[in-house]
Symmetry: C2
Subunit: 347 residues, 2 copies
């Protein structure tokens, strides 16, 4: 080891993975795609490919047990992994779950966590096939791997967006981030005022977006019914801006999105106003919405248009134009991908 | 949640997994075998099945960075997962690696860890296909999932041992445990005597068994060459006694093993003597040797007999006889499965 010291936060999560894995070689024909998309693609036979994705959730980094019920946490831990499989336009089938847990947790607490995992498995029709449980010196760590299937011609990566494709997003954005703001505020109130009860009434929608998000299984099914094959797709875990850059980078394109087209719920707008935050910023950089962001060919426009599940927010441009937000005033500004960085941002 | 509190250590690792997953249902035909073996089995097509296994290593529980070089740790973290795939008589092909790491680690330190991971990938011909890196509030956590393949008729589970089968073990046992004793002793010396240099000379073999174990890829290949299909198989991660019980439980059989037949290296015997420990106990309960324990049909005896890689240590008996050790004095004693319990035993 050299004597130099580089801090991990200088690279950020994506830079770090890229840096650490740059000298790894792929030897097996069955590895169709390795690191760099929502899930790895493994070939099985001619009519089916496997998708593999993994995520680790760490107490104090990804969740705060002061306001996260363990059952919700178990549910969410599964959902964030499934979301990565759906983001490949594929169907998750199996998961493994590993947990490290300190002795401060009782069996009953871990049962709560697993009841949430089970609920997610039932809802999304997933088999739990393996895992590991071990002790931890401090916090709770949950590591889940999800395995899915799809036919090779159905799979949508981040690399297939083409000039003039339309950019579409499911559901609405920014809610999970505003839910987090409410929870953090009430935690501070609870800390400073002895035994104050948190006041969470009226925030149901955004709290649910934060604490119990859903993966968009329904969207993948709907696209199939509509006979729309996305040219590229990604799930929105780190914020719309960051995900747009992933698609742009891997497809060698640029993109223009229109501020007025970004779907934001009335509840999110109200909460942003209350917190003196710009709701477009919440939608662009908030993350954790687990909606799907995808591109479609122009010819598929009429299949998507007018469907309340979808918002067409922009189109794919030349690589040289970069990723731009066209403001309500009609002004194009270059997007900043302030994606969530686990080495910088902590709860 | 009820108000009762049950401590996790009351159940132990295997009891805990069993308890937590008892109400999970398996819905997909493609899930051939879920929790309860070295790896889950997923069906792909008629001539191939997938094996999936996952393991989590936690600082202060599974490893101590005071005496574990990060490069060795990366190597070992991969090896312990591959070992679970080989233990199904299968060939691992891909892994995902997730790490949680605190800011006290520099990039250079994590590069060391990944150089060990890469070395293992090269040696065992494995593609790294995905993963996650995140920060941690305290220690280092490594979670790896390994994926392998085998034809359905080749796969050996824990459930296939039959009456009169022979019990075979590869390599030798107890070395990793004695290596750990040496490392723990030198750590104490280092702590109590200021700046004392650890004296590790002369312990090369057992230290390597502990710090840089290998998975027995060669044994799986050798069995194939010898045309021996094990009737059951498991890797020895928690100690011979504990693994024998897994095979006995799942195959509904008993087993007799002979103390004098258990393979123990001269280095392990010498170290055990020095520490005033019984080397048979180290072999039975030490764990972390990552050798393969398997059963074969009597008719395969001559293919195995005399091969220096294998020791025939006993035979399968009726379920009612339980698992017994026949001592050097010829006395049968019931084995105790004091497998390593991550909730009780910590470094």
């Amino acid at each position: 080891m050299s004597n130099e010291r580089t801090e991990l936060e200088q690279l950020g999560e994506f830079g770090l993975i890229k840096h650490l894995t740059q000298y790894f070689k792929i030897n097996h024909k069955s590895t169709v795609k390795s690191i760099g998309d929502d899930a790895a693609i493994l070939s099985v036979d001619d009519h089916e490919q496997l998708l593999v994705t993994t995520d680790m959730l760490v107490e104090g980094v990804h969740f705060d047990l002061m306001y996260t019920p363990l059952k919700h946490l178990g549910y969410k831990a599964v959902v964030v992994n499934l979301s990565d499989v759906y983001a490949m336009n594929a169907t998750p089938k199996q998961i493994t779950v590993s947990i490290a847990v300190s002795n401060r947790f009782s069996l009953e607490a871990i049962e709560e966590l697993y009841s949430g995992i089970q609920k997610a498995c039932e809802w999304y029709d997933i088999d739990l096939v393996g895992g590991d449980t071990t002790s931890s010196k401090s916090g709770l760590v949950i590591s889940i791997t999800a395995i899915g299937v799809a036919s090779p011609e159905k799979i949508a990566t981040r690399a297939g967006a083409r000039l003039h494709d339309l950019i579409v997003v499911s559901g609405d954005l920014g809610g999970a981030y505003m839910g987090l703001q409410v929870l953090e505020r009430e935690k501070e109130v609870f800390r400073s005022v002895n035994e104050a009860q948190p006041d969470l009434s009226g925030y149901d929608y955004i709290l649910e977006r934060q604490l119990k998000p859903e993966a968009r299984k329904d969207i993948v099914e709907l696209l199939d019914q509509l006979d729309v094959k996305p040219t590229s797709m990604i799930d929105i875990s780190d914020g719309l801006a960051s995900e747009l850059y992933h698609i742009a980078d891997q497809s060698f394109v640029g993109c223009d999105i229109y501020e007025e087209k970004i779907p934001v719920s009335p509840e999110t707008i109200a909460a942003a106003k209350e917190f003196n935050l710009d709701y477009t910023t919440a939608a662009l950089n908030g993350g954790e919405d687990y909606e799907l962001l995808f591109t479609i060919k122009q010819k598929d426009l009429e299949k998507i248009q007018g469907n309340p599940h979808f918002s067409i927010i922009g189109h794919v441009t030349e690589e040289a134009s970069g990723c731009r937000l066209i403001t309500r005033a009609g002004e194009p500004i270059t997007l900043k991908a302030q994606g969530w960085n686990a080495f910088r941002n902590e709860i």
